[in-house]
């Protein structure tokens, strides 16, 4: 007979509370995303994926082994080549964040706290299914979380250099060889020239669809809301690249149809806002949702859950196994405007580019509390964009909902500012009952 002790009972109750709270928050945000007007056809697979992971709390339901990755520097291609499936584990979960607050120090960033929380409760299948976690050390928090995670599962850290010189690339190539060897040990498959080439094709298809998507998304007036675009990008973390590409293909088709019919999200001229800064991970979608609910439109985003990880293709210049590894290393480091690099003026050019391409009128700079590297860059970006006459506002936020009202005031005022710049508001008819 199994006797259930009081501790176990308590633990079970606690777990249940955690699951309830977690699923409720995720479901709420999914509903808010769903309720937002102007979603294109074909959004369903992405919402379903997020629903499956966070609300139904299931794994990836893949037959292959899953490999967890953090940050954009761990190349997915290698994981596919080793016959495994990558899953991006950077978390935006409020419930896990509260658990993680007891584990990680107060000033750690919420993303890392949420990861620590999930791993500690041991209830999230996507985290528990991972055979290996690859943690690129992009900041101090990531470095320490790698150490914490290694107590519970297999972890491989990747050293990210602080600059992008030739020697650093060479060094990174040798790290990729190490990563391939580690993956082979875990999956039992070989990373060969052929399997790597095939993996390039798998992600290449996704990149192809993504560049189509970005092309359609660009330009004024808009065919899709930024929140929906960010949801699509977030869902990429939990989908096989092939499925994701196929689903995105459908979205692209419906967007093309929209463009053909002259259909738009709305007919009003909404202020076009660029969202940049610390990662915005589902379900922490409060800022894009607030922007779009307040009557703005997220016309572009420059965050690492967005286009950054997938946009640049690895360009093979040397037709050999080593050449492909170099292409991966080159792609992972050189075009990446991550603030972990000491000199990151590249990011300013990237932002200016996005502003030009998407006709941006204002920039919202999102900083997660404790995310120092992004906070450091704010000053410089503010100055540079100030010269262009683009207003910038810094929003500091955490993984909870207590500051939503504060954020709302700021975002509302910011949108109003852009609207007033754009054109004096149309007169409304007065209603009187004094």
């Amino acid at each position: 007979m199994i006797t259930i002790t009081r501790e176990q009972e308590r633990k079970a109750r606690q777990d249940k509370r955690f699951i309830n709270k977690q699923t409720q928050t995720a479901a709420k945000y999914l509903r808010r995303i769903d309720e937002l007007s102007g979603a294109p056809d074909g959004m369903k697979p992405f919402l379903d994926t997020l629903n499956r992971i966070y609300v139904e709390m299931q794994g990836l339901n893949a037959t292959q082994k899953t490999i967890g990755t953090y940050c954009v520097m761990a190349p997915q291609e290698l994981i596919y080549a080793a016959g495994a499936v990558p899953v991006k584990l950077c978390s935006g979960n409020y419930t896990a964040f509260f658990v993680g607050e007891d584990i990680a120090p107060r000033d750690a960033c919420p993303l890392v706290k949420a990861v620590a929380g999930f791993k500690n409760t041991g209830l999230m299948p996507v985290y528990e299914d991972c055979s290996l976690m690859i943690v690129p050390v992009t900041c101090d928090c990531k470095k320490k979380i790698a150490g914490m995670l290694s107590e519970q599962c297999e972890v491989m850290t990747m050293h990210i250099p602080t600059s992008k010189g030739d020697d650093e690339i060479d060094e990174f190539v040798s790290q990729l060889y190490d990563m391939a060897a580690r993956l082979e040990d875990i999956t039992g498959n070989q990373v060969t020239y052929d399997s790597l080439a095939e993996a390039f094709r798998i992600t290449g298809r996704a990149q192809y669809e993504l560049s189509e998507f970005i092309r359609l998304k660009k330009g004024n007036p808009y065919l899709i809301r930024g929140t929906h675009a960010m949801t699509i990008m977030n869902a990429a973390a939990y989908m096989h690249a092939e499925d994701w590409a196929a689903a995105l293909h459908e979205v692209n088709r419906s967007l093309k149809e929209r463009a053909g019919n002259g259909q738009r999200v709305t007919n009003k001229k909404l202020p076009r806002i660029l969202l940049t800064g610390s990662p915005i991970v589902f379900p922490n979608m409060k800022i894009p949702l607030l922007i779009e609910e307040m009557g703005g439109i997220v016309a572009g985003d420059e965050t690492c859950m967005g286009e950054r990880g997938l946009y640049d293709p690895p360009v093979i210049t040397d037709d050999s196994f080593d050449g492909m590894m170099r292409a991966l290393a080159n792609r992972s480091l050189r075009p990446c405007p991550c603030p972990t690099f000491a000199d990151n003026s590249q990011r300013i050019y990237r932002l200016k580019q996005l502003i030009k391409d998407n006709d941006i009128q204002g920039v919202i700079y999102h900083v997660l509390r404790g995310c120092l590297v992004y906070d450091f860059e704010y000053k410089r970006i503010e100055e540079e964009l100030g010269q262009l006459g683009i207003p910038v506002i810094r929003l500091e936020s955490d993984y909870n909902e207590e500051d939503v009202e504060q954020l709302r005031i700021r975002i509302e005022a910011f949108i109003e500012l852009i609207k007033l710049k754009q054109e004096p508001e149309k007169h409304k008819t007065g209603r009187r009952y004094l």
Binding site: K379, E383, I393, I409, E416, L417, K421, G430, R431, L434
Partner: protein, 260 residues
């Protein structure tokens, strides 16, 4: 002549301003209470009665402030940022060249940057913390057994301002208590508090925006001590708006007059 009312539903007080013919005619302030809309209606009615205006002559009512969405009496609402920027047109001194507005409210402080035509260029706001706001002053005044109105004049008597480093209200409170325990002069502590507030707000300023003059609005600018601290900290002249408390309400009324 048509008259216009601006309502500013702040966190502590509800302010109302009546303008007509491009001039501020009357202003009123009341505790917000729990029934925002009711208070607002009462204020608007009293404004009319006091100045002998029939409600039919009110052309348009504009609301602003935190509670602007619940003020049903108003025809429309506008954010504080825009309202403040508008209000300056009426309340700023003659020789003020539009540049920067420092608004020190009850529970937040903000800096608004204007271009030459009084249009908002950009703004920054304090984080979710009450340091550098009217509330901060009120708490410290309470400890030092004085009222918020006396804080300014008292601090001018300081000979040797103390150093107050805490930026958090709660921590500053205990810091001040320890200063009191060490028998520091009340005036010196108050002067120190003003300096620390001014420093905190100056930190918020965007370095790239340097054009034009600086104008203080909001209840905080009634405090001469804080005004002095700002001038010291910025090493520039700082103007104070007339009707500083009502700047938002006046701005809202001004926008109402454009609409009505």
């Amino acid at each position: 002549m048509k008259y216009y009312i601006g309502l500013d539903g702040g966190s502590t007080y509800l302010k109302a301003a009546l303008i007509g013919g491009g001039k501020v005619i009357d202003t009123m302030v009341r505790n917000t209470g729990i029934d925002n809309d009711g208070t607002a209606r009462k204020l608007a009615r009293e404004l009319c009665e006091n100045n002998g205006i029939s409600p039919a002559d009110i052309g348009y009512i504009m609301a602003t402030g935190y509670s602007r969405k619940v003020l049903e009496v108003a025809d429309d609402d506008i954010s504080e940022i825009t309202a403040h920027a508008y209000g300056v047109r009426l309340t700023a001194p003659r020789d003020y060249r539009p540049g920067m507005i420092i608004d020190i409210g009850g529970q937040d402080s903000k800096i608004i940057y204007l271009d030459g035509n009084y249009a908002v260029k950009n703004f920054s706001m304090n984080d979710k913390c009450a340091a550098g706001t009217g509330k901060f002053m009120e708490v410290i005044a309470g400890i030092l057994e004085t009222t918020i109105d006396n804080v300014g004049p008292l601090s001018l008597e300081a000979k040797n301002p103390c150093d107050i480093n805490s930026t958090c209200v709660v921590f500053a409170q205990s810091e001040v208590i320890s200063l009191v325990a060490r028998k520091y002069d009340r005036c010196d502590i108050l002067a120190g508090m003003h300096i620390s507030m001014a420093r905190r707000i100056v930190k918020m300023m965007k370095k790239s925006e340097k054009d034009g003059d600086i104008l203080m609005t909001g209840g905080g600018s009634l405090n001469v001590g804080l005004h002095k601290a700002f001038e010291e900290e910025l090493m520039r002249d700082v103007y104070v708006a007339s009707y500083p408390q009502f700047n938002g309400a006046i701005g809202a009324a001004l926008i109402a007059s454009e609409r009505g």
